[in-house]
Amino acid sequence: MAATATSGTAVVTLPSDTQIQTTRELNAPKHLVYKAWTTPELIKRWWAGDHGVATVAEVDLRVGGTWRYAMTANQGFEVAFHGEFSEIVPNERIVSTDIFEGMPDGGAAVTTVTFTEEKGRTTLTILTQYPSREIRDMVIASGMEGGLQEALDDLEEVAISLN
């Protein structure tokens, strides 16, 4: 709410039965957000958040190229995702498949990331389309079993840091 706040709050919505959408405003022009989003050494610095340490960020940024991110979670296990790019519009839009390696039967989700700039600030929109409602529900169910408390603790920290 404070006018001086540089960062907004992530907003999660469920636009349809098979989707999860996350939006967040960032205090930077979109070409820099795109750079931070697609450059391996920069991805490694933010992608794991507070959940662990990013160990792998490989990005072959072209249509048909693949990406793979991995982290060592705080609990010690490895978490990895990979996918293939199907659409790339530099500084505007990236579409790729998104496969959680711990759930190979889960099928490929398709994630569309859009970068929209207004007055030097960028709204980042991450729309994930799951192959079925069952799989989206499973993602939600697994999210509830693992890391819920940890995430709520994070939320508290974030809330405190925003004060």
């Binding site: 540089t6 960062s7 709050t9 992530a10 907003v11 999660v12 469920l14 039965d17 999860i20 996350t22 967040r24 960032l26 205090n27 930077a28 820099l32 957000v33 750079k35 931070a36 989003w37 920069l42 610095r45 933010w46 992608w47 794991a48 958040g49 507070d50 959940h51 039967d105 889960g106 409602r133 069952e134 799989i135 529900d137 499973m138 939600i140 169910a141 999210g143 509830m144 079993e145 890391g147 819920l148 995430a151 709520l152 994070d154 939320l155 974030v158 840091s161």
Partner: protein
């Protein structure tokens, strides 16, 4: 297998129940207070058996309660089963917030770098 896993978690039941647009419409109508079933049928312009079917699903997961008032069955909303979904969304938001907070730091550096590059460029001109 995947289906079985998804169904096993009771928390997904209310979630599945609200995934259906007509059932969400019923919940919306009930947010203004309890309503007799005929009222809901009239408002939704759907065949009564279909409305009753949706109400049965909502009852099974505890999202609506029903009571008899004379000859009428009156339905009211019970939001409690939605709490796990609400909690999950908050947790998911928090998970992303911790990433975005780091992204903020990276972006501040990139902006500084760009500014530095511009200044150097100006001097060279």
């Amino acid at each position: 297998m995947i289906l079985a896993m998804a169904r096993a978690a009771t928390t997904t039941d209310a979630f599945n129940a609200v995934a259906e647009p007509r059932r969400r419409q019923i919940l919306d109508l009930l947010t203004h207070g309890e309503r007799p079933v005929n009222d809901l049928v009239a408002e939704m312009r759907l065949p009564q058996p279909l409305v009753s079917k949706h109400l049965r699903v909502l009852r099974e997961v505890g999202l609506v309660d029903v009571r008899d008032m004379g000859r009428q069955r009156v339905y009211c909303l019970n939001g409690q089963p939605l709490k796990p979904i609400h909690d999950w969304i908050r947790a998911y938001e928090a998970s992303w917030s911790s990433r975005f907070n780091r992204l903020d730091e990276v972006l501040e550096e990139l902006k500084d770098q760009e500014l530095g590059d511009q200044k150097r460029g100006d001097k060279e001109d």
